[in-house]
Subunit: 459 residues, 2 copies
């Protein structure tokens, strides 16, 4: 529609002065407090901060300054080198049977296409299993398209099996001889913003160019495929990996009354994908853990020291990220519990723990602290997250997982749409309140805390 | 989040075979019927079809074939030349006080920046009125940013005053000496997909590069502006106008029993913006009018002939589009009523007419036909739309406006997100039913139909 209301516009122009004085409220959500200010600040003053980039280094400076200003002590950057990846020019279009431009983005660790593009037949697979079932060599010189439409789940568990199209698809396609692969984004939205994210090429496999199209583009490809005519694509993805990039963790503490007790570790990650500004992934996590640490000490020092870890290179840290580096530096220091916030800013709805049976009474206190916030205890395994998994594995630590509502997380995850306006300040504060409630229990008990696995292992 | 559920993924992989056989349903909405098939076909087999482009020509061929297959007679293409515009490379980034990439798109009829980009100070204006109030020459060498946040309205009336930022902003900025202008998209969504659309440079004004950023990007600029530090931008928009491009209308008829009676004209437009596939703007309109014309004749020929016009170049037709060309070809033929569908595919909720008092009884019949569909009669002016406005003005025709729900239309309008998945087949069919109900009344009456303006004019 172009001119439907044009006459209305002309009429309205005569009364223009009367509404022009009204404020043009730009920001749909307005929050306040420590957590909001961190999310607002990181997204506004730094923006995208891809691991290994100059922007990630600026983010470390920003984080140090902010944590010092908030009263944290022992604020330090612990630098490390990492395998990184740089995005390049990227576009794609179907050339047959119909000419259609596609909204595409390269996956992290994709290798580049030729500069003039990669042209070839596009072969449709409805699922990752269908790709796996393709005969060896059958994709020689062709480009695989793997559908594998993801649906939202409240606990985010769909990301396991559906995210595998991104993690494993490129390796499998290469093993079948494909010259490239395009996947449906591992995401649950319906916008023309494809989801990036790292893939991992197995060691014996030749890396190939790998990209993801948005869900509407994948729908289009599926509709065209269903017409039964051969499809061709022209693909240009110039992103490429590079070694020895600088990254680093930012670590800071709020000292407890008894420095001899094992500490409580709270983690988030500072790096983000480059397409958005990393508001839900994971500025929100850094805001939540930092605000909760401060709130837990509002009425006086906690018994145990609380340490925050704003990790570097979580997103591409498969071959060694901030969580691994943390173990190298701090692996011999005594920890009681490690917790991570890295699943957006929607409300916490479930609690999972891996505390040993000996700590059952303590777990009951944690549950009691969370009942008023509407948080339901759940059984089942939990492993923390990428930033704490290495220290948890190293020390067989107990975990508390405050599970956030994941129904919309994968609408935004790893897309250009991961921006501040997607953060609901009320839900963000509910997270802070939940974390604070937990900390007030576990950071104030002298009781030794052990995990199920440590107890079972008899250590 | 990268690896939070990675262990869950590994666990799930062991049971992968059990769910891999399930169909990977790709298309979120599935419709059927004439209207759906037109929308599905145009978006899948043609896609973007910018006025004056080779794709618009392919769309005309497609439209002719489809209308003939559906049983229309006198199917013809009426070609004309038009001023058109071609998109080029486009990107922008803030360079001070913070480095941030911006999601930007050029406005139609923008002129190109220098190939190396346009760099300069970015000056924030909260409203179009604030830009208008800037002193002459005060923007010399600078780039204007105009906020002017649009909110949704059910009747789409917000597009008048808020759309003016796009229609008039570039001219005003140029008059103040600006080297370029960036606006907040005239759109109501919160995705990183900026809204394009035509601007119009006044005759005495030097055209300047003009682009729109997405709402989240505009929020970011507003937040940075509120910090009070000078902003700089690096802007590259290579789109440019070109004259004498080929366009054309596709016209077809379902003959009535009495060819001597003035005809009923139903219009939509075939061209679309280039960023999406033109599903709601305006393949849906073409689907709706065409399906309704056929449905009105399902039980036998209507008394009056029904003509459909799938107009060329509506989107950039300010200086002469399909509606104007229709008058040149058909301006002397007798018309009874002209109607247009060009406001998406959401449900019709209101009826407006400009019938003369002499036709009051006929209007009551139209109202009665629409009550069961939940459509409310409203007073107030209505002017049809761009494709029928010229013939309406030329012949002082009566209008029937079946107003669709506009609460979400400007989430998608002129963005990459205008794709098939946004069309709800149930709402689309409600449109067809409403149009059919109206046609069954007005195409079957021999009663002379006149408009208020024609009656008042004493013609």
């Amino acid at each position: 529609m172009l001119r439907k209301t044009f006459c209305a516009a002309l009429l309205a122009a005569t009364t223009f002065a009367s509404f022009s004085a009204a404020p043009a409220s730009a920001t749909p959500t307005q929050g306040s407090g420590v957590a909001w200010d961190i999310v607002e600040g990181l997204t506004t003053e730094i923006g995208p901060r891809l691991a290994g980039s100059e922007a990630e280094a600026r983010a470390r400076d920003w984080a140090q300054a902010r944590l010092r200003a908030l009263g944290f002590s022992d604020v330090s950057v612990e630098e490390f080198k990492t395998l990184a990846w740089q995005r390049g020019e990227e576009h794609a279009r179907l050339t047959a049977p119909y000419r259609q431009p596609l909204a595409i983005t390269a996956l992290g660790f994709s290798v580049p296409t030729p500069a003039q593009g990669l042209k070839g037949e596009l072969v449709y697979f409805p699922t990752l299993a269908a790709l796996e079932a393709a005969p060896e060599g059958s994709l020689k010189g062709k480009i695989a398209f793997v559908d594998h439409a993801m649906r939202p789940t409240q606990d985010g568990s769909g990301y396991g099996p559906y995210g595998d199209v991104r993690r494993k698809g490129p390796t499998i396609a290469s093993q079948k001889g494909a010259a490239g692969i395009v996947i449906r984004s591992a995401g649950t939205d319906s916008h023309r913003n494809p989801h990036t994210g790292a893939t991992v090429f197995a060691k014996d496999v030749k890396p190939i160019p790998a990209g993801a199209v948005s869900n509407p583009d994948a729908d289009l490809i599926a509709r065209i495929a269903s017409r039964g005519k051969p499809m061709s694509i022209d693909l240009k993805l110039m992103g490429k990996p590079f070694p020895d990039a600088p990254s680093g963790n930012v670590v800071a503490e709020l000292p407890g009354r008894d420095p001899s007790l094992p500490i409580i570790l709270l983690a988030c990650h500072l790096d983000s994908w480059d397409l958005g500004t990393g508001a839900i992934d994971d500025a929100s996590g850094c805001g939540i853990i930092t605000a909760a640490a401060l709130a837990a000490q509002k009425d006086g020092q906690t018994l145990r020291t609380i340490r925050v870890l704003w990790s570097g290179n979580e997103e591409m840290g498969i071959t060694g990220g901030g969580g691994d580096h943390y173990v190298k530096v701090h692996g011999s220091e005594p920890h009681a519990v490690a917790m991570e916030s890295d699943f957006g800013a929607d409300k916490v709805w479930q609690l999972k723990t891996t505390f040993a049976q000996a700590n059952a009474e303590l777990v009951d206190k944690v549950k009691a602290a969370l009942w008023p916030l509407g948080i339901v205890p759940h059984d089942g395994p939990t492993e923390g997250g990428a930033d704490v998994a290495p220290i948890i594995a190293h020390q067989k630590l107990a975990v508390i997982d405050l599970g956030q509502d994941g129904m919309h997380y994968f609408d935004l995850h790893h897309t250009p749409d991961d921006t501040l306006d997607k953060v609901d300040p009320i839900a963000l504060q509910q997270n802070v309140d939940a974390w604070t409630a937990v900390l007030k229990v576990i950071a104030n008990t002298p009781e030794p805390i052990a995990s199920v696995s440590a107890a079972e292992g008899g250590e």
